[in-house]
């Protein structure tokens, strides 16, 4: 494309604006997390005058952040791994077989992603509470209930992304495995999965991020023992004095695992997320 002479200026201005808009909150998060409480309470300043790492030590005492962290870790890891395991089989079927109901399955699964969460919240709450009363399996307030819920939430995108990855693996490789005596499942485990490892890891990260960031169900379906970070972080704000330096430090700490994971696997995630939309 021929670039007009003003384009570098437009680029500088436009991208500069977007970069500032994107980065200012991140800068505020980082710079406020190293300020003493007195400094964040006395009005905002761009440059921290006193540097301290105290907030990073205090966040664990003000609210039981450690418990929330462990809860989030358990719920997000188990639901991510389980979701991807379920999605691998479903995606293999969708990618390699043409069967009646295939389209209905993919369309239904994807469209649930678009429905309002609030629509499922009340009935699921009722089902979990009453299932507990009838069977004694306490899903309400338990990690298990949250794990099943999150695992299903990430399932549609996990299947969609994995179908994309599996489609890009030549079928000739499956055939070769079958000639060697593997069944269709053998071909899946010996050929397709090993060839799709980067994609599978990316989808696992995506499912983990989904569970790690979910707020609505976490705020209703958990109790004091099973509370996750999404709800627990608000604990700093309900105190009489909001410890904003600690809130920022805690936000930073809980963001690091997912942001690092996302950035490391950016290429595969972006490829998977965009594959369906641009096809």
């Amino acid at each position: 494309m021929h670039e007009p002479r003003w384009l570098p200026w437009a680029r500088w201005f436009g991208l500069g604006f977007l970069a500032l808009f994107t980065l200012i909150p991140i800068y505020v998060m980082i710079s406020s997390s190293v300020k003493p409480l007195r400094d964040v309470q006395n009005g905002f300043s761009w440059i921290p005058t006193t540097f301290t790492l105290r907030p990073f030590a205090d966040i664990w005492k003000t609210v039981p952040l450690g418990t929330y962290f462990v809860n989030s870790l358990i719920v997000a890891s188990i639901s991510a791994v389980a979701s991807v395991a379920v999605a691998i089989f479903a995606a293999y079927a969708v990618s390699r077989y043409r069967f009646p109901g295939r389209r209905v399955f993919t369309v239904t699964v994807l469209s649930t992603q678009m429905f309002p969460g609030i629509l499922f919240l009340l009935p699921l709450f009722m089902i979990f509470v009453n299932l507990g009363n009838v069977t004694g399996v306490e899903l309400y307030g338990s990690r298990l209930g949250l794990i099943i819920t999150y695992l299903t939430f990430s399932l549609p995108f996990a299947i969609w992304m994995l179908v994309g990855y599996f489609d890009s693996i030549p079928r000739a490789l499956d055939e070769a495995a079958k000639v060697d005596g593997s069944g269709p499942l053998g071909a899946l485990f010996r050929v397709v999965i090993p060839a799709a490892v980067p994609g599978i890891v990316a989808v696992t990260i995506y499912a983990f991020m989904t569970a790690w960031g979910e707020v609505l169900f976490a705020s209703v379906m958990t109790d004091d023992n099973t509370r996750t970070l999404a709800v627990g972080l608000r604990g700093y704000a309900t105190l009489n004095d909001v410890y904003w330096n600690q809130v920022m430090a805690a936000s930073l700490v809980v963001s690091i695992p997912v942001v690092v994971g996302f950035l490391l696997l950016q290429r595969y995630l972006v490829q998977g997320l965009t594959a369906g939309a641009v096809k």
């Binding site: 680029r11 808009f21 069967f99 009340l122 699921l124 009363n133 991020m209 972080l233 963001s255």
Partner: protein
């Protein structure tokens, strides 16, 4: 794609011939399986593979949705939450209350609906505009391009609550960055520090935070869409004498049309249903001016513990979204075939 009843591949090798050597470990189970006719097993395999996914979808999505529709016809108040089978049938009364705009409940639902419509139009429009501008300006090679692209994706990677809670700190009246810049540094508002999280400004606040959170997704999808445009089209239009603007209007935007069709629908649904942004930004007391529908239904359900009316509101919301989606798909597809 036409669905076919036979799989693409021959899996005859999965069934060892009767009496032939069996793989180790194939005991009684293996024998039973191999007696099932081969054709049937071949047909059944894809269904076995999607079965776990179907069961989970049924348990968490489909059944609750149907239960939710059922609940909307019950007088499901606090008394009956732990014993819902005893809840009396309410007919359409939950719906009548929700759409009776003379009553307090109906009037506030309608208000919340209109707030959400305006919020969605603004937030989706700005997210799309930012995403398009970002993606178009990122075309071409320049220094720092890769770094910038990564930075733009950070709000998307950040857990929603961490990003939004930072905005709520920035929007604090006395200690926030926004008033520091606007009042202390730019001397606007005649030295009065406005409130951003209560009152009329809260609407602007929630729109901006929603755009901050969702424009990177638009950017991501549009970047991929731009990469798929055939470079020859630009060469050809350049030979025809088209300048940069002309190419943007006659090549780039028309070629992005299918991508935009999906992108705008997805952004619309996510934004309209957004619960996280207002809930984390305002906490339990959403201001009237920024009373978005998801939080509205959530609060009216859990404050009154009237799940029957909450379900009726959710069903109305779903019907509205289905209607908009259907109209949107018909309208955008027809225009596409006209072109």
């Amino acid at each position: 794609m036409v669905a076919r009843t036979t799989p693409h591949h021959d899996e005859r090798r999965t069934a060892p011939p009767e009496g032939g050597p069996r793989p180790p470990g194939a005991g009684l189970h293996g024998r039973v399986v191999s007696r099932i006719p081969l054709r049937l097993r071949r047909l059944g395999l894809p269904y076995m593979l999607i079965l776990p996914a179907i069961l989970l979808e049924l348990l968490i999505h489909v059944v609750p949705m149907l239960v939710g529709v059922g609940m909307s016809f019950l007088r499901l108040t606090q008394l009956y939450i732990r014993n819902w089978t005893a809840a009396p049938f309410a007919g359409l009364s939950n719906y009548q209350v929700a759409v009776n705009f003379d009553s307090a409940v109906g009037a506030s639902l309608l208000h919340s609906f209109f707030v959400t419509v305006v919020f969605t139009i603004l937030a989706v429009g700005m997210s799309w505009l930012f995403g398009t501008a970002g993606a178009v300006l990122m075309q071409g090679a320049f220094r720092g391009r890769g770094l910038l692209r990564t930075l733009f994706l950070v709000p998307y990677a950040l857990p929603v609550y961490a990003g939004v809670i930072t905005w709520s700190f920035m929007l604090q009246r006395d200690t926030g960055l926004v008033n520091h810049v606007l009042v202390d540094q730019l001397h606007l508002f005649g030295g009065d520090r406005p409130f951003w999280l209560i009152g009329g400004n809260s609407f602007a606040a929630v729109v901006i935070v929603a755009v901050w959170k969702s424009w990177p997704f638009a950017f991501l999808i549009l970047m991929a869409g731009l990469q798929n445009i055939d470079k020859d089209l630009y060469e050809a239009s350049a030979i025809d004498g088209a300048g940069w603007w002309r190419q943007l209007r006659s090549v780039t935007l028309p070629m992005l049309r299918p991508v935009n069709q999906v992108l705008i629908l997805v952004l619309f649904l996510w934004t309209f249903n957004d619960f996280n942004t207002p809930y984390v930004l305002f906490g339990n007391a959403a201001p009237q001016e920024a009373d978005l529908i998801s939080v509205h239904i959530y609060q009216s359900s859990f404050i009154t513990w009237n799940f029957g009316s909450g379900s009726a509101m959710s069903v109305l919301l779903l019907l509205f979204l289905l209607l908009v989606t259907a109209v949107y798909l018909v309208a955008t597809s027809r225009r596409k075939s006209d072109a």
